[in-house]
């Protein structure tokens, strides 16, 4: 109840800031030594919130569906891609983490590449992957891009988690003559949960970014990323429209974060939470 109230207050503060800046800010913004330090406050750059809301209610094109339905549908499409990318990414991340924990040499050899993988720019990767879609539908390409971003926090966070049990615990398991698998299931995996879930939340956010950027990059039709780029082309004459799509993308991010934290509810009720440093 209280949390819902905080959320509402948060939204209200943002709205007040936006409209407040529009009220006091100069329509031409502020430029200091040739660098724009404050954005323009005119209606073309920052449409009024009620214009955006009103735009949501009006048809996308004359006689078409209202914008909000289009945006919601696009978000659902991207949610599907995100979920697929998240699932693949999480699975790959878990397997990699387990491998790295099991074989020291794999950790030494692989971890630098895992980190390196995140420095490859998506714009270089996307056209490469885009050509593979003879094997699967176009949306799967985007899901792969999402997975590529999502596996990283899981792999790194989970590795830290699997290595987290105290030596005493590991030695105890050894004294029971239990093998690697049993130690993993009985000791390391439960111990890693407080590390896993923050990593999964990061992975969820990364998957959303990957899905949206992947859609833009490959031009995959149907999702919110594509909608943003299509609406932004109309920013000259219909500036509120692109904000409706951006609003959709933001809500999608929140939704995914919420869904991921639902995953941890049944598993984390009696556990301590730790902050995870992924790098």
């Amino acid at each position: 109840m209280r949390r819902a109230l905080y959320v509402l207050i948060g939204v209200a503060v943002c709205a007040v800031l936006w409209e407040g800046y529009k009220l006091v800010g100069s329509p031409d913004g502020a430029v200091l030594l040739g660098v724009r330090v404050l954005p323009r406050a005119d209606d073309l750059s920052m449409p009024h919130l009620w214009t955006v809301v009103e735009r949501l209610g009006r048809p996308e094109l004359t006689g078409g569906r209202p914008v909000w339905i289009v945006v919601v549908n696009a978000c659902l499409f991207t949610l599907g891609i995100t979920a697929a990318g998240f699932a693949i990414g999480a699975l790959v991340g878990l397997v990699l983490a387990a491998l790295m924990q099991r074989f020291r040499i794999v950790e030494r050899g692989l971890l630098p590449y895992v980190i390196l993988s995140q420095t490859v720019p998506l714009v270089a990767l996307a056209p490469l992957v885009a050509g593979w879609n003879v094997l699967w539908p176009g949306w799967m390409t985007v899901a792969l891009i999402a997975a590529y971003l999502a596996f990283f926090p899981v792999a790194v966070g989970m590795l830290r988690g699997l290595q987290s049990p105290a030596p005493a615990g590991v030695e105890l398991m050894r004294s029971y003559a239990s093998g690697w698998w049993r130690t993993l299931v009985k000791l390391r995996f439960p111990a890693s949960l407080p590390y896993l879930f923050p990593a999964l939340r990061l992975a969820g956010a990364a998957a959303v970014v990957g899905a949206v950027v992947g859609e833009i990059s490959t031009g995959t039709r149907g999702g919110i990323g594509r909608l943003i780029i299509e609406y932004s082309r109309e920013a000259t004459s219909d500036p509120a429209k692109v904000y409706t799509a951006m609003l959709g993308a933001a809500l999608l991010g929140l939704l995914v974060a919420g869904l991921v934290s639902l995953l941890e509810l049944p598993l984390m009720r009696h556990r301590r939470h730790v902050e995870v440093v992924t790098l």
Binding site: D42, F77, L79, T82, V134, G138, T236
Partner: protein, 381 residues
Amino acid sequence: MRRLRIFTAITATSALLFAGCGTADPQSVTPAPGGSGGALTPIKLQLQWFYQAQFAGYIAAVDQGFYKEQGLDVQLLEGGVDIVPQTVLAQGKADYAVAWVPKALASREQGAGITDVGQIFGRSGTYQVAWKDSGITKAADLKGKKVGNWGFGNEYELFAGMTKAGIDPSKDVTLVQQQFDMQALLKKEIDAAQAMSYNEYAQLLEAKNPATGKLYTADDFSIIDWKAEGSSMLQDAVWANTEKLNDPGYQQQTVKFLVGTIKGWAFCRDNAEKCRDLVVAKGSKLGKSHQLWQMNEVNKLIWPATGGIGVIDDANWKQTVDISLTTKNQTGDTVLKKAPEGLAFTNDYINQAITAAKGAGIDVNGAGFQAAPVTLTEGGS
């Protein structure tokens, strides 16, 4: 108890997964070009961007069955921000591609084996748009002004035009990297903005003038047309795979593909509104009046086609190559380092296709083409 929890987690994860699979359906339906009869050859054509009237001829040829008459089942591939059509073609992921000549030539220089087999747009649609009251009407007037340009190889006509008018683009003007909308011009951050006649220029005319509450009109702006300045370059062309052109089967298929393409564009010349509807039905997010404007402007870039649609004019080709070789952009780069080698273009196939189309009673010149006036509405909807 713990087992139950893990089970819950697994169920939740798989629920997410299934949600992912469920939404796949609408996507897989879109590219299917309708029911196909027995022995059609499947063909992929890579476009430069999302469906819009710029590609109406191809869309119409698919929809009206012009490709099917030729025994081809053509699938149109939409472009995206990072999709480079000529690269897709060179990698064999498409059979033909639509691309601008200078950019495609640059890719050729880097090793892409592609050949221009049909210069569909005989004219360039690039403008530099300024406010009428700024007094900018020709390239020479840009001196000392803030000039917007898109970069990424879209800027060479502007640079060639300025150079030709005696302006040094690196010293005499302030160059501003322009977004793909026209807000910078409307807010007067720049004095002149790059615009395609069929897209960005229309967006200006679809925007409301806050001072009057009415839409801007053509009287508010002045246009520098690079065709008039003599620095225009060839744009949309159909490119084929050079190596495959040695294969008689691919040669024949290319002619057939071009016949269908010619019919499609001729259809859109004579039925602009119908083609507009076809593009809108393809799910374009741009409004109806905007698409009709675009259809009309694109038709102007093709028709009248004195030598026949798609035939590469030597003088235009030479101008494009010359500018590509000599004009430097702000970083000092030219499009090409040396003259194109090998089979950069050929009229062999388009000429055969034109003969075939003429035989079928198609007007391939459009000598009597008159562009119809289009009224734009707010937001183009």
